[in-house]
């Protein structure tokens, strides 16, 4: 069963960037790519990095912490053996971005501020 919710407007997410929205307490990253809008869980399966702050090209986002690359259509991690990232169907209707958040309402909302991993990263692919 789907549950479409309106999360933001098309202009809220600049071209080829991501922004975070919060749905039922869960962090979701919304991306504006040349192939359309995509939404995935905003917690990197590696160590919890915020994917919405990642780097985008085509339908890929690269995590800002240690550069794990996630295919936005499937949620698959392309450069590591990690579990896939949850993806959400998205549609754009008259300038509004909607996503099917059914999966996020089947479980209780997480407590605030507990979604990011505590461990320290150890790779430096993206270092300043």
């Amino acid at each position: 069963m789907s549950r479409w919710v309106e999360v933001c407007s098309v202009e809220d997410v600049p071209r080829l960037e991501g922004r975070r929205v919060v749905v039922n307490g869960f962090y979701v990253a919304v991306f504006n790519t040349e192939a359309g809008f995509f939404a995935v869980c905003d917690v990197c399966p590696h160590m919890g990095g915020p994917l919405s702050d990642g780097d985008v090209a085509a339908t890929t986002v690269s995590c800002p912490l240690h550069a794990r690359k996630i295919e936005l259509r499937t949620g698959q991690v392309k450069n590591d053996d990690l579990s896939r990232v949850l993806t959400f169907p998205v549609k754009v209707e008259s300038g509004r971005v909607l996503l099917d958040a059914a999966a996020l309402y089947t479980q209780p909302a997480p407590p605030e501020e507990e979604r990011v991993a505590e461990e320290v990263g150890e790779e430096e692919e993206n270092v300043a």
């Binding site: 809220d12 919890g48 702050d53 780097d55 912490l65 990690l82 300043a128």
Partner: protein
């Protein structure tokens, strides 16, 4: 649907993991696999444990597989569960989780444990073995000042090396008269000893340990000779002992190891064994190659035609200690009768090459110091090639590079991953591969211990129509070098990364190269480019450094490291107001407010009222200075003010990789200027300018670019060099690589010859680029993208 064949694998080491892979590859639809592994961390490549210890790879790179990986492939992985009981009649096993699991086939892959000889005091705190991730983690945590490693074999030396890289003082004690006596003859062993000493590891041969001393905790080691070595850690690396206890209790026959036949069958029906827990024909194994051969055999026995047989395998070894090149294979001593040796030895250069020959055939080899002939020699041993074919290589009259190997297709090239030459050739031809890196990626040959990489390169050379070097592309997807992109940008007058993408595809497929493209577009246009924020990393989108928990750090600019009570007060207030996780004085003489939320950055910057210190970008960072002539009784040059002037000249400029500077007021060099990218040191009557220094991942003393008389000249030379590097450095290339690559003479020609006018033109271009920059922290009121600093853009 037919019942699936239930296979239980006990042990999740290299052999167990490879077994699961091969079973899945052979017929994943027909089998149901349960895998037990009693190590909490899961699956990893034990061979690379020494690299893990030295810190060159992390746990993820060690080959850890997530539980999901197994789940996706329908393997029931019981991580952290030890099998305790086996009922071979009822065909079921019970692990520490209490559950009985039935099997149709059971394979022991329990490996071995470190064997600890009965040395007095071996149970004291601070005594370790070197076998598992856990062992390594515990050793590193103990961070010993002085360690003694008992055992000077392969493992002992790798342990010693690992500890040395963490700053411990290590002594290796070895009972035999020379190191690695299993693999090396006395001459090579002695030479190895010298090489080992060069990297800072001490050793004693003929050393018998009598007792490990200390009250509860290790304090030292006493030798039979009476000698006493103080130490706060002892690592015992004296050998291994197959894990056969469980098998023995269940009535599976074992001697030193679990006894297997050539099909890897034990004496009990439907029970098999592979890897270091086995004993075949009186032989134990201690390396991964034979273990993997056994895995191939057992898969054929269980799922295939029971045609493959294991015949025992000759050992070849490479030492994975940085700076020491060593290969040993087969009978390196020539112990058997009628063995002769071809030897070439040059102790002055630490080079030793030997082929052991029996009845005209090569049966063993040692290469030390020069392992270029490694692939040819190990192959010669494996195939017992006629000695004439390799004699030239050993003596040194034939160059290894010009003596390609003629291998049969079935010859195994990568022992770690079991890849044959035939498969490599077929893959190269099918996929039209041109580069070594592609071959490694596609075939996995060379992916583990790496010792066969030279051979892979040779095979590529022979099999491919065209070979390409692995190039340092700026855009890997489009195979473009930085110079190619620069040329495209310049010749077509491109102004943005998107235009570059339209022109040549770079940055369209994956985001990796976009920051470098941004640098090229910006610098080629003297910063009059069209800024696109999607082509910068998060750090440069919000002008702060992202941290492990997704918050950011703020390093305001304090020119030359000079601050004031007013600034300090503001920093303190900001840290408090925005709940910073920490305020720290950085390694570069600056103040760092760490752990600020993205949405608070603009407010914090406004409160501070200081410009950005650019601590987050591939950009000019800061000038570290000392108090110089204004205060110091030794100061001969005004280093503080030179530093402040330079910082003002360079602030807000992006560079190919970060640029750090230092100015010291006298040769005491308190600002460490000689290990900065650009540095100035005042001397009596002038200044010395250093370039290409580093004290990070690399430590390199800078080269003296020039000695000049005045502060103004110093400033000018540094300006010219900075722009020369900005124009000619490759993306991500620090000056410690740039200066040696281009050559000091070439650099001098371009930045010092004032007559030619070129240095002034460089400075002019730098000033022009600088004019088009501004403090990015002003974006606090002038957002460049929508919701630039927003925490979230919607909430439902």
């Amino acid at each position: 649907m037919a019942e699936k064949l239930k296979i239980v694998v006990v042990g999740n080491g290299n052999a167990g993991a490879a077994l699961v892979d091969s079973l899945l590859a052979k017929d994943s639809g027909r089998v149901e696999i349960t895998l037990y592994g009693d190590e909490e961390v899961g699956t990893y490549d034990r061979l690379r444990l020494s690299e893990f210890m030295a810190g060159t790879v992390d746990l993820a790179q060690l080959g850890m597989r997530s539980d999901d990986w197994y789940e996706e492939r329908n393997v029931r992985f019981r991580r952290g569960v030890r099998v305790e009981e086996l009922d071979t009649k009822a065909q079921k096993v019970r692990g520490t989780d209490g559950e009985w699991v039935p099997y149709d086939r059971l394979v022991f892959a329990t490996g071995s444990s470190s064997s600890v000889p009965p040395i007095e005091g071996r149970d004291k705190k601070g005594v370790f073995v070197f076998r598992t991730v856990r062992d390594v983690e515990e050793m590193l945590e103990a961070a010993p000042e002085r360690a003694v490693v008992i055992g000077g074999g392969l493992l002992g030396l790798e342990a010693a090396y690992g500890l040395t890289t963490h700053g411990s003082e290590v002594t290796v004690l070895h009972r035999s008269p020379h190191l690695m006596n299993q693999q090396l003859d006395p001459a090579a062993g002695r030479m190895l000893g010298r090489e080992i000493e060069k990297i800072g590891i001490r050793f004693k041969v003929g050393a018998n340990t009598e007792e490990i001393m200390g009250k509860g905790r290790v304090q030292g080691v006493k030798l039979k000779s009476g000698e006493y070595l103080p130490a706060d850690m002892v690592v015992i690396c004296t050998g291994i002992r197959p894990n056969k206890g469980l098998a023995g209790r269940a009535g599976v026959r074992a001697n030193s190891g679990i006894l297997v036949n050539e099909h890897m069958e034990t004496n009990v029906k439907n029970v098999y064994a592979v890897g270091e827990c086995t004993e075949y024909n009186g032989q134990l194994i201690g390396l991964v190659a034979p273990a993997l051969e056994q895995v191939r055999v057992v898969v054929d026995t269980i799922l295939g035609e029971r045609k493959l047989v294991y015949k025992g395998s000759g050992a070849s070894t490479t030492l994975k200690v940085a700076g020491v090149d060593l290969v040993s294979a087969g009978d390196a001593y020539g112990r058997e009768e009628d063995c002769e040796a071809i030897v070439s030895s040059n102790p002055l250069e630490g080079v030793y090459r030997k082929a052991v020959v029996k009845n005209g055939k090569v049966v063993g080899t040692i290469l030390l110091g020069d392992i270029s002939a490694g692939p040819q020699m190990t192959e010669a041993v494996k195939r017992r090639m006629p000695a004439e074919e390799v004699a030239g290589l050993v003596i040194g009259s034939v160059d290894a590079a010009s003596a390609p190997l003629e291998l049969p297709d079935e010859a195994q090239v990568c022992d770690c991953n079991g890849v044959s030459k035939g498969r490599i050739v077929a893959t190269i031809q099918d996929l039209k591969l041109k580069k070594v890196s592609e071959v490694i990626q596609e075939t996995k040959a060379g992916n583990s211990c790496g010792s066969c990489k030279p051979l892979v390169a040779q095979i590529l050379e022979q099999a491919a129509d065209e070979v390409e070097e692995d190039k340092n592309y700026v855009c890997k997807c489009m195979e473009l070098m930085a110079d190619d992109v620069k040329e495209i940008v310049r010749s077509r007058g491109l102004k943005s990364v998107s235009e570059v993408g339209e022109a040549c595809g770079a940055g369209k497929v994956c985001p990796d190269c976009k920051p470098a493209l941004t640098y090229i577009v910006a610098s080629t246009n003297s910063n009059r480019h069209k800024e696109e924020r999607h082509a910068r990393t998060i750090n440069d989108r919000v002008h702060a450094n992202i941290q492990n928990d997704g918050t950011f750090s703020i390093v305001p600019r304090t020119y030359g490291g000079v601050t004031s009570p007013d600034q300090l007060r503001k920093v303190a207030d900001v840290a408090e107001k925005y709940n910073a996780r920490m305020v720290k004085i950085t390694g570069s003489q600056r103040l760092d407010i760490l752990g600020v939320k993205k949405e608070d950055l603009p407010k914090a910057w406004a409160d501070l009222g200081m410009p950005s210190g650019f601590a987050y970008g591939k950009a000019f960072r800061q000038v570290k200075t000392c108090v110089g002539t204004d205060f110091c009784r030794f100061g001969v040059g005004d280093s503080t003010n030179l530093g402040i002037d330079l910082e003002k000249a360079f602030e807000f400029l992006y560079t190919p990789a970060k640029v750090k500077m230092g100015c010291s007021g006298c040769p005491r060099n308190c600002a460490e200027a000689s290990v900065k990218d650009i540095g100035a040191i005042a001397i009596e009557g002038g200044w010395q300018i250093y370039v290409g220094g580093a004290a990070g991942m690399e430590v390199r003393k800078g080269d003296v670019l020039a000695t000049v008389e005045t502060k103004e000249e110093a400033y000018d030379v540094m300006m010219a060099f900075m722009q020369y590097y900005r124009e000619n450095g490759q993306p991500k290339e620090r000056t410690y690589d740039f200066v040696p690559r281009v050559g000091l003479e070439e650099i001098k020609k371009n930045v010092l010859d004032e007559e030619s006018g070129e240095p002034e033109r460089l400075r002019e271009r730098l000033r022009k680029a600088k004019e088009a920059t501004s403090d990015p922290w002003l974006e606090r009121t002038n957002n460049v993208t929508k919701n630039q600093f927003a925490r979230e853009v919607g909430r439902v």
